[in-house]
Symmetry: D2
Subunit: 348 residues, 4 copies
């Protein structure tokens, strides 16, 4: 078959990982890449790791350039997707790796991003539990517009949704602390993101209650059946280039053994190829999911504290962004959901 | 003056940092170092960074070797301090960097460590608030036995104690997640601590409710005025050799503004040379305290979540171990508390 | 088709990477994995990253267990391959990732390894230039025994062979300094390989003229047409888990421009899918080849010093070990040489 | 006594390390700090690690602001020192951490930096051997202008000078490869210096024969008695924030045993407090000199290759910049040369 693909905003880290995965996808073929300041340059001048795409050159990011492809992936800065997408044919599958179309509430978008809301698209998290027992996957079949989840939201949501759906965890006292690789902060040249600053240090960012990931996570947990969501969320940059390790805790509702708690997650994700629950008493690490589309979840019950503890490991650029984009595109296109994606991570 | 010092168990990371600090202490002079498997070897064969102590050779760790010094620092594996200390004269200042003499409850010691309790010594955390408004410092003056706090306990306790003392935080729902440098796991050769395993990865360890640091932290928070302590605690190894970044949260009790919350910490630590509260809206990173005895605390209120968020940065080997040992020894010896210690960290 | 595969010594880093690559190979199917101390354990208890092989369990490393497969990969400690291989049928393709069968000279083997020589097998470096203008690839077609090159030897050899073959470089004054990721030192638990020791530091190992990689490199450069090989070789462990960056220099013979020098490499490797020469004035970095089978080479002429400078980047576990093993196996089996291997690296 | 100090260009990494060291110097007191874009901001807003200097605020970098101090340290971008220095009184000790006054040849300055030469100042490398058997130290006594060596030049020069002075090494075929921490590339926000780019990778920079460090090193080796200097020099950024590990090799002249070679270095540096020669067969690592003013040198003879191999470890910001500046200032001021400097490094 071989469907034609364009990637807009392909000079950043998300765009680069999309291209790396697309290059090995058997049914999708990258024909066009666009960028802003790098337009006119060879792709490999920005992504020297992508030798298999050495024939490509960045073009300007315009609707004209993007038109005429079967699939368009958008990896643009927040606020730039809506305008471009509106100019693309409805028959084109448009997958937005940015935030523009994730939130259902125009008011929340306005509050957290300060611009006009571009509208809501089907949310590209296939494994997300829905309150009626279904999965988000069903919303993606034959969709022609997909909003890719944020990487931090992916880690926290997949960690907690089964417990919310099962009524096991109190959503009014969630705490999440995420160890995040520096690619999660993007490719813009900023002093505080220099290697000399971040190497050998753990550095919090975006501390407090106004983090942009919060409304997205709350929306997801409500979809899973939660109602009142109160969530303390702290990301910490640590000296690795990729990866998120999210430690998510919430009070246990009622009485349950550790085994009963774990079984809720095992049941919820038993059929999911990309989600793995570690054995009882073991917890995941990010090295094991690098470059993959996998989510490793360690689920435990801290009886003394009365809290469920879930630790989630993902690759922020993989399942956290580009992998989820391709997985959702596969579903929308009627392809095998796993096509072009890896379950195995690059460790050590 | 110049007091004579022996360091027992000097071949590990805690011992090495003790020696590094003692080498530049104007009133303390290292005369003797002991080790187990390295006995008979030059100190610099194990610690090639300590050239100023190149004349020293490891001796066996026996009471005979340690006797006759003004101060003895013990950096032995847990469970080994009690026997040695009992054989040293009461007039010798003995500072134990291990866990043996930290806990007040023999029962808790037995439960968490599985051996007989060696007794309780004055606890070497000078800045710890006491419920009567005093500081732990007063217990250390003229003490001849001091138990040095654990590094993780130091970060969490100093982060939270002012809030507990001020009645601002609910101690029944504390959560702590710590990004920890790999020296915190010690120098024993274990596969899962190899550089190839930990580099490029975030790796949780000791997840769940039975962590040995829990009773120590609870004891401290009770000393600060807390009663029922319930605490979810998760340490995560990240790719740095030193440093702890603890993200500690607890529900706010009653109503308070962010400014009111911060002022509790500012008041509590206003006179403390080694504790620094970052400006409102800013948070600390570990690079800034490396090699120092400083604690950097960022204090915030997450209004939406209703939680106080405190982020603490320390050097696990500095203020977390060796720095605290020397600071407490200074107090016990009637010296300037800051002698031989640095406020400034080694960044970048 | 699907040929059956066994991997012996699969618990180490080389074995793990072999399995990761084999799991995605369309024509090879891993049926059996063996290990020494981990025999009886599930594969994923040692390699939690390899979820797609979760059904496998380590067996003992015996000829009986390995027999009956179409292909056997050996990733055993040096000195252990010869005995096992001798017991396997001649019709089985045996690919040895260890050193046992690399050297042609029994005397050199004896001198560098101290044990009896197990014999010489066809050398698995397809791109190696031979003095008659051919490539080593021809020796691998239909071979049933293959010796996989060492990772350091791969980097240095591929960096220099075109210059040797073209008579451009003086082989009597070669110098190589390699920045090496810690997985290159293996998985044995040793204190000096702990993360706390290697993080934040550059650490030389194996300095001096008796390094085991030297005879292998010299043999390769003689194959490329060199005669007297004198080579100063220094590997340095740096804080990354994977990757080798080799800086290789040798005096220029006669007169040549930088462009003439570069054209020798461009010509030599123009048809090689896995070897990329960076544009003039640019040099490679290891991030761009992580997880791939690619070699990136930067070739320059330092006119003032009169030396050719070649910088080679490879993944020590990829093209340096497991990738080369599979590439050579593909050739021996008559498959597409690139099958199951990636040209694109995992950056950032 | 307490002499007053100003530091110009104090917002960069070199300036920060100067301040960290000056803060603990018993005879020098920082009164004034200047910066360009950060003028008007508190020092600790840029250097949050320097709490002991929290009372200082950056001022503009003008001769007026700098005048009236006993000592002025300049840590300005290359090309900016000459103009400022010319306006400071001759009686003020001015120590320039930039390149402006290092080179003796105005022509070489012009060729490598492209601007007018600001003149040559006494060179701040006290331990440098001079061809007549003396040390550079004598040029610094009572000097009122000092040019601080470059960090890479320090590592290579101190590694090789004893062999040059002793006539043991052939200076026409020197090769140096340096593993360099990312602070060595400065604090300017550039994409290729982001943590996401450099973490997990080894990245060469400034490859080839036109590196600005070359004329400085050649000048030093001529001072040590060399004549024709030909030097292949390659720095490689590796994932650490500080440190240089220089692997320097040169052909042995004539016949000598490894012991004879080592004894040349042992003799040359026997009286130097900050230079340590590792035991035979051992080599230094950067962790052991972090934060210190020490140089660790491993000296060997590769008999098969006929080359002397010297590996030098320094902290690029310590002995490589700020430490050397203070050491030289101590000499010029008639103070104890070691004042305010540490021999012991911060490992692990």
């Amino acid at each position: 078959m071989s469907l034609s693909v364009a990637v807009a905003g392909a000079s950043g880290y998300a765009g680069g990982e999309l291209l790396r995965l697309l290059a090995q996808h058997p049914e999708l073929e990258v024909r066009t890449v666009t960028a802003h300041s790098n337009a006119g340059q060879p792709l490999v001048s920005v992504h020297p790791n992508l030798r298999s795409l050495a024939s490509l050159t960045f073009q300007e990011t315009t609707a004209e350039v993007l038109a005429g492809h079967d699939v368009v992936f958008l990896a643009l800065p927040h606020g730039h997707s809506g305008g471009i997408a509106a100019q693309l044919p409805e028959s084109t599958l448009v997958v937005d790796a940015g935030a523009d179309h994730r939130l259902e509430s125009a008011e929340e978008w306005q509050r957290y991003y300060g611009t006009e809301h571009a509208g809501t698209w089907p949310y590209g998290m296939p494994e997300l539990m829905l309150a009626d027992g279904g999965r988000q996957r069903r919303e993606l079949r034959a969709a022609r517009r997909i909003a890719v989840p944020g990487c931090n939201a992916t880690a926290v949501t997949l960690a907690l949704a089964p417990g919310v759906a099962a009524g096991l965890v109190d959503t009014t006292a969630i705490t999440s602390v995420l160890a995040v690789g520096s690619s999660g902060a993007g490719r813009a040249a900023k002093t505080h993101l220099l290697a000399a600053e971040l190497t050998g240090s753990a550095t919090p960012y975006g501390v407090g209650g106004t983090h942009r990931h919060l409304p997205e996570i709350a929306q997801n947990l409500r979809a899973a059946g939660g109602s009142d969501i109160r969530h303390s969320f702290t990301p910490v940059l640590v000296p690795m280039s990729r990866g998120i390790l999210a430690t998510v805790t919430a009070p246990l509702i009622g009485e349950a053994t550790a085994e009963q708690v774990r079984s809720a997650w095992l049941t919820a994700y038993g059929d999911e190829a990309f989600i793995h629950i570690t054995p009882a008493g073991e917890y995941p690490r990010t090295a094991d999911v690098l470059g993959s589309n996998s989510v490793h979840l360690g689920v435990g019950l801290d009886e003394a504290a009365g809290r469920v503890v879930v630790i989630a490991a993902i690759d922020n650029l993989g399942k956290g962004t580009a992998g989820a984009a391709i997985q959702s595109a596969n579903i929308a296109l009627g392809l095998d959901e796993q096509l072009g994606l890896s379950i195995d991570g690059l460790a050590p």
